[in-house]
Amino acid sequence: MSLEARVCLSLGTLKLDVEIRVPFGEVLAVLGPNGSGKTTLLRALAGLVPLESGRIVLDGVVLEDPAGGIRKAPYERPTGFVFQDYLLFPHLTVAQNVAFGLAAAGTPRSQARAKAREWLAAMGLEAYAGAKPGSLSGGQAQRAALARALAPQPRLLLLDEPLAALDAGTKLEVRRELSRHLRSFSGSALLVTHNPLEAAALADRLIVLEGGRVIQEGTSTEVAQRPRSPYVAELVGLNLIRGKGLPGGVETETGGTLVVPSNFAGEVFAAIHPRAVALHRERPQGSPRNVWQGTVAGIDLEGDRARVNVDGPVKVVAEVTTGALKDLDLAAAGPVWVSIKATEIQVYPA
């Protein structure tokens, strides 16, 4: 009762080699930068691109096994696919779209129609049954696409950035609904996303793809606390510094040294929350063990907070209030002092 797959294929410059296991009832989020192979992984599972090697087994049934000469066509696989741009058939009504999979499976027309109506009711779209998809709002189209994918009762649900095309206002509400439908889905589900918050809200576990390989996996909390690549660190908003463990410190790749509260040996990651990085115009006095001089390389404003990129022996991002930004006059040139308390630095083996 699970999806077990090893997907190996190359497509253009991408070389995908991913192994996943998703028990029924679980939602796995797939994160990764553009071109990391997220969508290709979904397409391979759906049978839209062939494997070069590996195997796809769903609930004990081999869907694809190049070595064994098995390759089920997309229409022979019990999968539902929610595309990023939904791909609702523009010439059919919303109800006909939802009934499409049932009709294709040979369900008698009246029965397919009744089932489609049930799904539309579950999605709050009864009023749009006879409408063409072109007249739906983004959130409604997303729900219609989900209903269409779920109606034939797939055992594997694939969602390719299902919320990416929505504006911020509707995103939260649609996400809540999507979460509800994913909870009640009894098969395996994979969800491609760029957004770690989305992954945390919708998925039980997540994997991070980079360059066609899984570089990290775990629950969203695990991944958020201990990022293992600059991409993930940036996603979850942490400073990630790679270095060598010394007694009581970490020697960074750029030649700096961080004082940390515990001893580590070998290659380590040090994660620091930007809020734990303090900035000063004068050399600070006091308890922080890590103090160095740097220069401001860039400032991003996010609401009432600012993220300040500081170049120096160790490159870090500091999060300060816009008030502090003004007081420190950071927009002006000149050196700044960085200080970090040793206890704010999380160190874990690389």
Partner: protein
């Protein structure tokens, strides 16, 4: 999560949109261009006026009601619709292959398909005669094996019309297949639709506008076909004498009938143009 953007101190200001100087030559040439435009428009408009001014509007119904004219109209309708039907049956799969399959000689096949649009119809008729005529290699075989003779029969007229009309359908449908978003077909496949179901319920409706336009073009072309028909099928009243042939013949004997039939063909062309105006005249 906002990614870090370097402070914009170093970035260049956005480039101003590039504008072209108004060349003086354009202004100098304007009168000449206007003259040419006037001449060209007159050139298209005057023949139309000539036809419409001479049309016996009062006697139109009786002209079109006479037995030989009625039989030409009927024959034209049957032959052109049959030619359109064959064009769809053979042309859609051909357009599909040209749009979707990679095979050696594909551009050659496309060139061969479009050739009848460029070749003078009379030449097409001669070629058809040499292939499908009683003594042509294909014609002799058809005669001996099945007892089918094509030249100077209604079937021959249909064949000649199909020959000149099908390219219009193939080209239009191929363009439609190329421009359609194939991911809709993938979506159908993930919903369990087998290829034939996908074709019928997704591809065909999505290329519907192209198919209709192609069929209308092919039909209009078949209806007006003259050269290939008269060469290959002859000019036998009631069997192969379609409207254009009847017009040509009537020009010598009964001018009113020729004009009436011409007006019918003109009306058909205008109707096709108006129905598919969004396709042929996107700015109208």
């Amino acid at each position: 999560m906002g990614s870090s953007i370097p402070s914009d101190a170093g970035s260049a200001p956005p480039a101003a949109p590039r504008t072209w100087p108004a060349y003086g030559i354009e202004r100098a040439a304007a009168p000449l261009v206007k003259l040419a435009v006037g001449l060209a428009v007159a050139f298209f408009l005057l023949p139309l006026l000539g036809l419409l001014l001479r049309t016996p509007w009062n006697g139109l119904a009786s002209e079109l009601g006479s037995a030989p004219v009625r039989s030409a109209l009927w024959l034209s309708l049957v032959c052109s619709l049959a030619a359109t039907g064959i064009s769809i049956l053979l042309g859609v799969p051909l357009a599909w292959a040209l749009a979707r399959w990679e095979f050696p000689g594909r551009s050659l096949v496309r060139a061969l398909t479009t050739l009848p649009m460029i070749v003078p119809p009379v030449v097409g008729g001669v070629a058809l005669l040499l292939a499908f005529g009683r003594r042509g290699f294909a014609g002799r075989w058809l005669d001996e094996a099945f007892g089918i003779t094509l030249p100077f029969t209604m079937a021959g007229a249909i064949l000649a019309e199909t020959f000149v009309a099908m390219p219009f359908l193939v080209i239009t449908v191929e363009a439609g297949l190329r421009s359609m978003n194939r991911r809709f077909e993938e979506a159908a496949a993930t919903l369990g639709a087998r290829p034939w179901v996908t074709f019928r319920r997704v591809t065909l409706p999505l290329i519907g506008p192209s198919l209709w336009a192609g069929a209308a073009l092919a039909w209009a072309r078949a209806l007006g076909e003259f050269g290939a028909t008269i060469t290959f099928a002859g000019n036998l009243p009631g069997r192969t004498q379609t409207i254009p042939l009847a017009v040509y013949l009537a020009l010598e004997t009964r001018l009113e009938a020729a004009i009436a039939l011409s007006v019918v063909l003109l009306a058909v062309s205008l109707t096709v143009l108006i129905v598919f105006r969004s396709r042929f005249l996107p700015n109208l």
